[in-house]
Structure formats: C-alpha cells, structure tokens
C-alpha cells in the first residue's frame, strides 16, 4: 500500500563523499545514545535504529529511520523518513514523513546526521500523546505516487513538540 519512496538519486559529489566518510568515522567513535547504525555498503543511504528514551511514551520501543543524502550534501538537506511502522506522533505521518523544520527550510551545512537524530529523539520525547496528525489521511492520499517529503510545502506551527 504505502511503500517507501524511491526517488532517482544521483551519485554523491566528491565533497559529499568525503564529508559522509568523516561523519561515519565520528559516529563509530562516539555514537549518540539511543541510536544504532545498521552497517551497509551504501554510503548514500543510512538506516538507523531509534530506541525511545526512558521515561517517555515511546520507552523501550524501536523504530527504523532512513536517511538519503543528495548529490550536493551538506549544502542540501538529507531526506529523513521513518520506515514502517512509523511511530504514533502528532507530527509524524503514517507514511513516515516527519514535519521538522531543520530537515527543510532551517537546514544548515554545519548540521550533521548526529544532530538530526538528536532532534528527532527530542521530538519523540516531548510528545503529549500517541496520535496521528489531523491531516494524516489526506496527506498520505496525496503522496501515494512516492512523492518525497522535501517537495511538500510544510507549515511549521508547533514549537513545543
């Protein structure tokens, strides 16, 4: 039904490749807590296991996060989505798309995969209730063709979660 998006990706540039290799090396030396990198030969696509923080609604639960890097990373933001099943969150749609400003308009070349993961974990930890967004059904219906979340015009209205 709702399969993961598979956009046509270009090969990484020399700068992006160098940057990602260094980030991966740093990740292996000191990974952020609650995250586990699934080893694979594809440097352009990272699959990361996320474990809910203790004392939160998602404590003990594990979700999978997919990070796809563009050709001109880090000048362009990576595409970050949750694989099925997606966690029940007011800002995470059932197709795995995440409504987080730093993944779109507020992206900065100084950010890294680690900082993005920490922001997502913070978003999960501050969730008031396990529920879907109000416009979840309509949004998922519109993205049936495998549309990328970067093509959506997001409206970031919630600063608390």
């Amino acid at each position: 039904m709702t399969s993961s998006s598979s956009p046509s990706r270009k090969a990484l540039s020399k700068i992006a490749c160098n940057r990602l290799q260094k980030e991966l090396a740093e990740w292996q030396v000191s990974p952020p807590s609650g995250f586990k990198y699934r080893v694979s030969d594809n440097l352009q696509r990272w699959v990361i296991e996320v474990t809910g923080a203790a004392g939160t609604l998602y404590a003990g639960e594990t979700y999978q996060l997919q990070v796809d890097f563009p050709e001109h990373y880090p000048m362009e933001a990576p595409q970050v989505i949750f694989l099925n099943p997606a966690p029940m969150h007011p800002h995470i749609y059932s197709n795995g798309h995440i409504c987080l400003d730093i993944l779109y308009d507020s992206w900065s070349p100084a950010m890294t995969v680690s900082s993005v993961c920490i922001s997502i974990l913070s978003m999960l930890s501050s969730s008031p209730a396990k529920q879907r967004p109000q416009d979840n059904d309509r949004y998922v219906r519109n993205c049936r063709n495998g549309r990328s979340p970067k093509e959506t015009r997001w409206w970031f209205h919630d600063d608390k979660v």
Binding site: I15, N18, R19, K22, M75, S106, S108, P109, A110, M111
Partner: protein
C-alpha cells in the same frame, strides 16, 4: 648544750695555735708577711680582670657543670671521716657559712652571673676537700703555718687596740676574700678566704640561696619559650604562602596555553584542511570558520551563515572585490 661544748673546744684550739706562733722568730714573720702582701695584690688584679671580661665567665659555668657530677659519689665518705674527728666539724661549718655568704652577695650584686657563681662555689668546695685529704705531712705542715701566721696578726690587734696600719691589713684581707669568690681556678685563695671570714648566721644565708635557685629555672623557661613558639610557626607559614600562588599561576598558564592551542584545522563543511588564508578568513561575527570554496558555494545558495543562520553582510563586499579582477 651542744653549742656550748663546741665553743669551748674552739677556744682551746685557738690557744694552742697562739703558743706555737710565739716560738717562731720575728724576722721570718716579717719576710712571710711581705710575700703574702705581694700575692694578695696580684690576686686582686686578677679578680678585676675577671670582672671586666664577661664573655669568658659565661663559658666557664658550662665546663664547671660538666665536672661537678663526677665527684658526687665520694662526698658521703669524707663527711663520715670528718664526723669521726673531734675538732674538724667546727671548721667545716665555718667554711660552709663563708661559701654561702659569698653566694648570697654575688646573687645580690650581679644576678646575670648567678649560674657562674653557683658552679664556682661548688667547684671550690670540692677542691678544698681534695687538697686536705690528699696532702701528706708536708701539706699539713704548710696549712698549719698559714693558720699560725693569721692567729698572730689577730693577737697583735687585740693587744695594741687597733692601729691604722694593722687595720689596713685587715681591710686587704676582706678585699682579697671578696675578689677570690669570683675566681674558680685558685684553690689556695678559697682556703684563705674560708679561714679569714668570720662565721655568720647560717640561717640567713640559706634562705636567699634557696630563693635564687628556685627563681633561675623559671627565668630560663620564660626566656626560651617565645623563641620555641616563633620558630616552628614562622617557617611553614612562609613556605605555604610561597607555594600556593606559584601552583595557581602554573595552572592558569597551562589552561591558557591549552585554550590557545585548540584551533580548528579542517573545514566543518567539506572536511578539507584549512590553509593559512582560510584560517585567517572569518566572514561572520559569530566566528564560524570555513574554507573559501565552501563560503563561495554558500553565497550562491542562500548567503546565510551555517553557524548562526544570519546573512553574510560583508560577504557582498567580497563579491564585488572578486568580480573586479575577472573583468
């Protein structure tokens, strides 16, 4: 009862001595008197020199104290011997009284020299006893001659009624006795002083001696106490004060150096090494450093600083500069 008997015995001894003196010739008496006067004058001069020099007297009491403890054991035996004899105890008492008088006078006159006088008195007493016991017939005869001459002088005084010349001689004797008290080495002078000085009340002499003895240790402890207190306290406090600021300074210097050494060596965007030009390049007030290549790319994209997300204001000026050489 005891006192009356002692006085009677003393009087009898004096009478015997007077008879012996009459037998000797007048010429010999005069020669001996002249020699003794010369000796007295020399002793008086020695006494004055001793008084003038204070430092050597300070050192002598230490030596005296070292030698004093050794002759303690033989004391009781000599006392027993003296007691066995009939006339000797009277002489011993007189000598002791004289010594006490000397000690008392020295304490009153010069309290600073009290320890030296104590040692000198004890040493003198010991020497006297050694001389009397150790000597043979010759020594005993010489002592008898001295005593006989003294008794003759006393007899003359009584007969004539006290002429001026004879009175002067007596004054010399007293001066010699006082001077001898200070000196430690001369044994004969002590013996002469003992004999010449008349017996006085021993009770009066003993009291001041005891008091002075008790006071001495108190003064010494008081004098040394502040020194002992100050020495151990002053040293550690000084060392502590010196060491603490040095260590603190070292720590601060180390921290400052470490801070200076920590500088970014690679571009946080492309992870390439920064050369001298890139290191000195700082396009944003927030101090976010990056290489020129990445900076140019960011300007083409959105022109905002990756660190603080503010637009590069000065960057536009650099653009205009770079455009210049191209044309």
């Amino acid at each position: 009862m005891g006192h009356v008997d002692a006085s009677a015995a003393a009087a009898a001894a004096r009478d015997a001595k007077k008879k012996r003196g009459n037998r000797s010739s007048a010429k010999l008496k005069q020669c001996k008197l002249d020699a003794r006067r010369e000796q007295w004058l020399s002793q008086v001069k020695d006494g004055k020199e001793a008084k003038a020099s204070t430092s050597p007297t300070g050192t002598e009491p230490n030596a005296g104290s070292m030698t004093v403890p050794s002759p303690h054991p033989p004391l009781p035996r000599r006392r027993l011997d003296v007691r066995s004899k009939g006339g000797d105890p009277e002489e011993d008492r007189e000598e002791r009284g004289a010594a006490r008088q000397e000690l008392g006078s020295s304490y009153l006159d010069s309290p600073v020299h009290s320890p030296s006088s104590d040692n000198s008195g004890s040493v003198g007493g010991m020497h006297r006893k050694h001389y009397n016991n150790g000597g043979g017939l010759n020594l005993s005869s010489s002592s008898s001659v001295w005593s006989s001459s003294r008794s003759v002088s006393e007899a003359e005084d009584d007969d004539t009624g006290g002429p001026e010349e004879e009175n002067g001689v007596l004054d010399d004797w007293e001066a010699v006795a006082d001077a001898d008290a200070l000196t430690v080495d001369d044994c004969h002078s002590h013996q002469s002083s003992g004999h010449v000085a008349p017996p006085a009340a021993p009770n009066v002499c003993t009291a001041p001696a005891n008091q002075t003895g008790r006071q001495d240790p108190i003064q010494r402890t008081k004098a040394w106490a502040p020194d002992d207190i100050f020495r151990p306290q002053s040293l550690p406090s000084i060392s502590r004060q010196v060491s603490f600021p040095a260590s603190i300074g070292n720590g601060w210097m180390g921290a400052a150096q470490q801070a200076n050494l920590s500088t970014p060596l690679t571009c946080p965007i492309c992870c390439e090494d920064l050369d001298l030009t890139d290191s000195s390049f700082c396009p944003c007030p927030c101090k976010f450093c990056l290489c020129l290549f990445c900076h140019n790319k960011i300007l083409e994209a959105d022109g905002r600083c990756p660190g603080c997300r503010k637009e590069y204001v000065a960057a536009r000026l650099s653009r205009s500069c770079s455009m210049g050489p191209r044309y």
